[in-house]
């Protein structure tokens, strides 16, 4: 799957799509990996907090307030 840039020229009204170059694709894929790792870490952290709150006997509402 390749990514593309959508280009709207307001002077002509035309919309065209340009495929990402290899360098752009590589950068995007690398960022996706970084974002995935960041996301996983965030979820893991939150799950750990939720588990702790449950162990403490807090309600879901109370846990949400602490996480917010």
């Amino acid at each position: 799957m390749t990514y593309f840039e959508r280009i709207h020229d307001v002077a002509t009204g035309k919309i065209v799509e340009r495929e990402y170059t290899k360098a752009e694709m590589d950068e995007s894929k690398a960022n996706e990996s970084r974002l995935k790792a960041e996301s996983d870490a965030a979820i893991e952290s939150e799950n750990a907090k939720i588990a702790l709150f449950k162990k403490m006997g807090l309600t879901a509402e109370e846990a949400t307030l602490l996480l917010s």
Binding site: Y3, F4, E5, R6, I7, H8, D9, V10, A11, T12, I15, E17, Y20, E24, S28, K29, A30, N31, E32, S33, R34, L35, K36, E38, S39, A42, I43, E46, T64, L65, L67, S68
Partner: protein, 311 residues
């Protein structure tokens, strides 16, 4: 004149010419008639040809004709004279402009009038068919919608053809992405060089999983960037929509462009979503002719970018 005297005294006169009359030709060295013809007659208009110098002479008002170049020496006063080619009829008197900054205009046909200088910052306008000074009215900014472009499926979207608009206002409405923790970035002129282009001053709030309550994490930065961080989605793919606005002032100048922007990410699962609130100096000598919005990784799965322009 011995011979003439002899003739006059002769016993037989040659004519009725007296000796006195004959004496009048004393000193004549050439034909008298020829000399007389060469002189201008005094009873008719005199025509002087060639370059003439008239000094302290009177031109007969009966003829008023001088042919050829005339050199007037000394101080001359022309009274009630009409210059027919070129025409100078009624000369504007310089005393009409009595004050510094005065302007001469025609209050009616062939009627010069004075318009006194206006006050500081006043502008010249027209009222009642004549110019006048008036206070400059504040111009109303009228925005034109230039682009409505869907983001879905694209990794980035660029709106081009923005040259000529000094004010650009944009909204990214309900943008979504399948990539968790994704970020929306903005690039005027698709510029990410970072060299000579500075993006300074931003702050963000990182929301937690339930963003409807309070924001727990804040940060303020004064940094140089290569593009504008506009919004960050939450840490799960089902994170909420992101909405961003940005405004550019001075977009059509070759100087610095001032950009303000803010974003909001709707509550969704997962924390780490960020709402940005910042301002930017886009330090580029190029006018802004295009604007790019992108996600850091992957693609948009929904959303629309609207861009308006004004001057």
């Amino acid at each position: 004149m011995t011979k003439a005297r002899d003739l006059a005294n002769a016993s037989t006169a040659l004519s009725a010419v007296s000796a006195t009359e004959l004496a009048f030709v004393d000193g004549v060295t050439s034909a008298i008639q020829t000399q007389m013809d060469a002189k201008a007659p005094s009873s008719t208009a005199a025509t002087l040809t060639g370059t003439q110098t008239l000094t302290n002479k009177t031109i007969d008002t009966a003829s008023n004709t001088i042919t050829g170049a005339v050199t007037l020496t000394g101080t001359q006063t022309l009274t009630n004279k009409t210059l027919t080619n070129p025409v100078i009829s009624s000369v504007i008197n310089n005393t009409l402009t009595s004050t510094t900054g005065d302007i001469i205009y025609a209050s009616a046909a062939n009627t010069p009038a004075r318009l006194g200088i206006g006050s500081t910052a006043q502008v010249l306008t027209v009222a009642g068919g004549v110019p006048s000074w008036a206070s400059a009215s504040a111009s109303a900014t009228s925005y034109t919608l230039l682009s409505t472009t869907g983001l879905s499926g694209s990794a980035s979207t660029t709106v081009t053809g923005l040259s000529g608009y000094n004010k650009i206002f944009g909204v990214i409405h309900d943008a979504t992405t399948a990539t968790a923790s994704n970020e929306i970035r903005l690039r005027p002129n698709n510029d990410s060089t970072g060299s000579g282009n500075y993006y300074w001053g931003t702050s963000f709030f990182a929301g937690a999983s339930s963003y409807a309550t309070t924001n727990t994490t804040g940060s303020a930065n004064f940094i140089s960037q290569t593009e504008i961080d506009a919004a960050k989605f939450g840490s799960t793919a089902s994170s909420g929509d992101a909405n961003v606005y940005f405004e550019i002032d001075g977009a059509n100048s070759t100087g610095k462009k001032m950009i303000t922007y803010a974003s909001g990410v709707a509550p969704g699962a997962g924390n780490a979503a960020r709402n940005y609130n910042g301002w930017t100096i886009f330090n580029s000598a190029s006018v802004i002719s295009s604007f790019n919005v992108r996600v850091t990784g992957g693609t948009f799965s929904g959303g629309t970018i609207y861009i308006w322009g004004a001057n």
